[in-house]
Structure formats: structure tokens, C-alpha cells
Symmetry: C2
Amino acid sequence: MIVRPTLLLDSRRVERNIETMARKVQGEAVRWRPHMKTHQSAQIAELFRHRGVEAITVSSLSMAKYFADHGWRDILVAFPVNLLERELLVELASCVHLGLLVDSPLPLSQLASSLESPVDLWIKIDVGYRRAGLSWDDEKGVLSLAEEIMQRPCFRFRGFLTHGGQTYSAGSPERIREIFRENLDRMNSLKRAFSLRFPRVGVEISVGDTPGCRLAEGWRGVDEVRPGNFVFYDLQQLSLGVCSQEEIALAVACPVASLYPERSQGLLYGGAVHLSKDTFLDAQGRRLYGWVVPLREEGWGRVEEGGGLLSLSQEHGLFELTPPLAASLRAGGLAAVLPAHSCLAVSALGAYQTLDGRAVERLREA
Amino acid sequence: MIVRPTLLLDSRRVERNIETMARKVQGEAVRWRPHMKTHQSAQIAELFRHRGVEAITVSSLSMAKYFADHGWRDILVAFPVNLLERELLVELASCVHLGLLVDSPLPLSQLASSLESPVDLWIKIDVGYRRAGLSWDDEKGVLSLAEEIMQRPCFRFRGFLTHGGQTYSAGSPERIREIFRENLDRMNSLKRAFSLRFPRVGVEISVGDTPGCRLAEGWRGVDEVRPGNFVFYDLQQLSLGVCSQEEIALAVACPVASLYPERSQGLLYGGAVHLSKDTFLDAQGRRLYGWVVPLREEGWGRVEEGGGLLSLSQEHGLFELTPPLAASLRAGGLAAVLPAHSCLAVSALGAYQTLDGRAVERLREA
């Protein structure tokens, strides 16, 4: 029985989402290295293994360790290498095929002197998102970093990796496709420059981002894709036009603490510590923290039956009590919240359970 | 040695902050029931016990259980009662002096039929914050709820409780004092109405919010205060003019992953899952996620030496690399982040450590 905020999984939707992406990736004939940061669950990772996936992406060394402990042997840590975790780096490099990112020559010598086993190195490229990476148009910097990597026998130079997160602020599916194409052009121009300079060295392109991987077709020059969020999707993806609401596979069940019909609002036991404070833009352009819908035995209700999650404090979630919600919720019962961003809701909460009440294990950091 | 995002505590500042608030509360001659949701640590709670505090506030039953297990015997759960956690309610009511909130008559009969031991009941009043509670000007509704409570022998009616969170959006310390005074006026008008109607029944006023408790003087009619955040403070409180930067007692140590001097930015291993996505307004009115400052052996640096935390993804934190930061940070080293909201950073991360490396234990929810 659910008595406090709890992650709920619709396992049929999860399987369908994986199936859909699997077909897409197969059609494009690239390597699939799904990102595990969205679910952080060895059990969900098994669904990928059953489809022949052998290589995965994670976003921290702790996550790499967790999946290594669950039998994964080809793991890419898609975050610029954190030299402070040297001990864990050495341990992981000795037991799995480990991939790391660099975006500057600085860590190379320290990394080389620490490692006892070789690792794959990817150069993180900034294709315009302006978060991490060497800028795609800094050809000179990129090639000189590649050269430095290739000079050291403890590194296997793999190629160029990017996360084109600009797709998350695109205004339409068509714009997402355009951005994705533009990002590929930028990555391919680097690949060409590399191949001209080092004609006998192999070089790969790895790209991420669920919006682009879902919507764009014709992944010219791409060797590997790393989408993650598509396993669950969420309201950010729905509002971008990336998924349908029938594909959202994760919700947070929350106790309904009080209803205030006089001001058309209600209060959930479910706040920032359960849902994170990420937001999405609803159809009217309001910045909201999630969407409250009825929760029934067979699953959660539709967006049309719900209302916006207006504000979050530590444990409080204030929502709009729309007429359909008022008709279906009662104080002392449960509601479901479709999260703005499922990756962060998963990180905020503990173990999942499926709609039919089975527990799903996941990583808990110390 | 710190190798990944870690909560850092300046214990001298914590003790000084508690001392300052203790003097204030003593001067106002009210009961002090500090909120434990900010630190969620039995060890920090002991600092209050040493000052004679016997009554505490928490924001969930899980937190109540944790502090009950650590010897606290007078615990108020400052959140409208969650009837779904009936089992835990019954257990807690049997072993501690338990206080609960209601803001509607709905839960009363179910609560009465579940409980085996009496509990204190407070009526949650909305003084204008519009989050939870019966509106302060709904005198009829409030008195009739009080009457219903008093009719049941399993409840001890205690009085009216509010959290005047409007102070968090005040533009100046003077405005915080005004709002606090106005909130007290509203609570006192309810207390008068109650005493006129039930002249022989005692009724108390309990108020919260760190900004008001810190800045306002003359807590007319107040029986109990429940500030919490003052233990650590944070940038929200600093930007409101509630604390000085020398009073901020919590920071998050984060590895510096990369520096991008060409765009005056840097990247921390430290993202939304470590800091939460809460924000504050800096001196120029920018909405930021925290403030990055140098980290030295003796503690973290001053705001003037730092730069804004511009955006957060799951594990990425992008900050502005101001000239003083560029002079003091290096990739592969550590920086400190002053959080926008310390309560949420504490909830996001695991155990604390003090500046001199001692571990501080805290509640971890399952």
C-alpha cells in the first residue's frame, strides 16, 4: 500500500518505449549505448540486455560502479573525467571496458600516470549547447587534443562525442530535427578534418539527446547514440512534441493532504524533495512543476483529467483543483503526478514500484 | 578526502546561529520549537537540547519517527495530517507527545477512530501565503473546526498555527517586519474571537518562518515559534537581507570538472541531484542556482571571490568564471557552492561532514 510519495512505473509502457527506440536505432544501423542515468536501475537495464545491448552510458563513476557490479562490461561515463575519483577510476578500468570524456589536455598526464589499464577516450564536443566540451569550430584545439591522446599508449582514442541539448529549448518538432541535423553537420565536419589529418586512424561520432534521437531521421555519419530519457519520457518531452502522453511511463503517487475548493486548489504531500524543482511549459505557456492526475488501480489518468502543479516547497505541492480533479480526488486518498523531468524525480525518490505493486531496485548513492 | 559533491558544515557558524536565535527567542519569552527539516540530523538536534529545547517541529511522519528514535518526546508534524500513514501515526502517538495539523473537519473522525493515544491538534491557518490552511478571515469555519476538535476526547486542542511564507517574497527587511506584524495581527484576531466564544479554553499561537523570526521584534500574542532555516541560512536568506554571508553555515563541495576561459565559464561535477533546482535572485536580479566560491582548508571563500551558478542539469553545474575564480580554481580541484536553499541541498545529498572532516549523521529515507 502506498502511504507516502512513491515512484510508479508503468512497465508495459517502459517496454514499449524501449521497443520503439530499438526499432529506430536498428533502422539507422548505429550502435546503441543507452543512457542509464534516467532509471539508474539494474532491473530496467536488463530489458536492454535482452535486446542485445552490450554498451551503456552513465553520468558518474558511482553509476558506472553500480552497473559494473551488475555485470555490464562496456561502460561510458558521459561527463568530463573527475580526476579526484582516481581510486574508483583505476578499479573500474581494471574490470570493464571503460570510456571517459575529456574536453581539455589538462587531465591527460595525471590520468595516464594513475591508470593501470587502458581506457577509451572520447573528446567532448560542444555543438552549441554551451555546457561542456571543446567548441565544434575550434578545429585546431580538437585535433591537437586528439593527437595528444593518441600519443599515449594507455588511451584508445575513440572519437567525438556530443550532447546537443539545444533540442530541449526548441519550439517545435521540426526545429528539433533542424537542430539535430545541424549538430550532425558540425560533428561530421570535425570527423572530416580529423580524417584528412590522420587518414589511417579510425574516428567515431557519438550523439545523445532523446528529442533528436526520437524525431530526427537519417543519422548521417553517426556511429553511436546515447538517448536516456525515452525510457520514461515526461512533461518536458510531451510539451516539446517528442512523445505522446500514452508513452509517459513514470509518475509519482502522492497522498492528497487537503482540498481547498474555495480557491480551486489542493495540497499534495509531495514537494521539491520528491519531485525536484524542475519545470515544463504547459499548453498555455505557464511554468509548472508537474501535472496532477487521478490515480486508479489500472494506472494514472489522462492530462485532460488533471491540473497543474503550481508550486513546490520541501514537502508541499500546491495544485490547481480543476473540475475533473475535484470530481475524482479526495483528501486522504492518492493522486499521481506526471513529473516535469523524470530523470530528476527518479533521483529524488528511492525505489520504484510497478503499477501491479512489484518493487524495482535501483542505485542509491551513499 | 572529498572526491564528489559533499555537504560541508561550518560547525562554529551553526553554533553561533543557534546561539543568536536562542537569545532572540529568550528575549521574546516564547516557547522555542525549532524546525528540524532543515538539517534532519539528530547530532545537530543535540545542540538545541543542550540549550534546553524539548519540543521540536518536523515536516513528515518519517522525520518524526527518526527524531523519536533519537529520544525526542515532544514532536509537532507541521504538515496537514496524512491519514494514509495511520500505522506510523498510531505508533508515534503511543510513544511521544505528538502534535498534528488539520485544516478541515474531514480527517477528524477517521483520525479519532484510528488513534489509541491522544494527540495535540493545531488548526493550520492561512495568513495570506495561500499554501495550506483555513483562511485567517474565515472565522466561522475556524471556530467550528475548533469546536469539533474539542468535542473529541482523543484530541487536545492546542490552538492556531501558521507559516507566513509571504516573507520569502518580501522586497526588504522592513517589508518582512511589516508582513510578520500583519500576520501576527491576523492570528491574534482569531485568538480573540476564539476566547470570546470559548472563554474558559486555552488557545495558543504558533508561528514559523526564519525571515520573520530573525528580523521582527515584539512577537505580540505568540506562544511558540518554529524557525528552521536559520541553522544554516543560504543565499535566499542573504538576498532577502535576513542574514550576513558570515552566517551561512552550509556549502556543497564540488569537483571542478573543466574550465572554459574562452567563454568565461566553468563546469562543476555538481548538478540538480546534488543542489536541487531552487534559485535565488542575485544583486543584479539574475535568477541563479547558487554561488561558486573558492574552497580552502579553513573554509569557503567570500561571495566577492565567486561567480554565479548559471544552470544545472542532472550532474552538471555551469558557472561564471569571474576573474577571482579564474585565479583560484583549477580543473581537477574542488570548489564550494553556496546553495540557493540549504534545506533542499541537505535533502538532495547524503551525510554531511564538517570543515575539519568529521562525519555528521542524518536521516536517510528508505
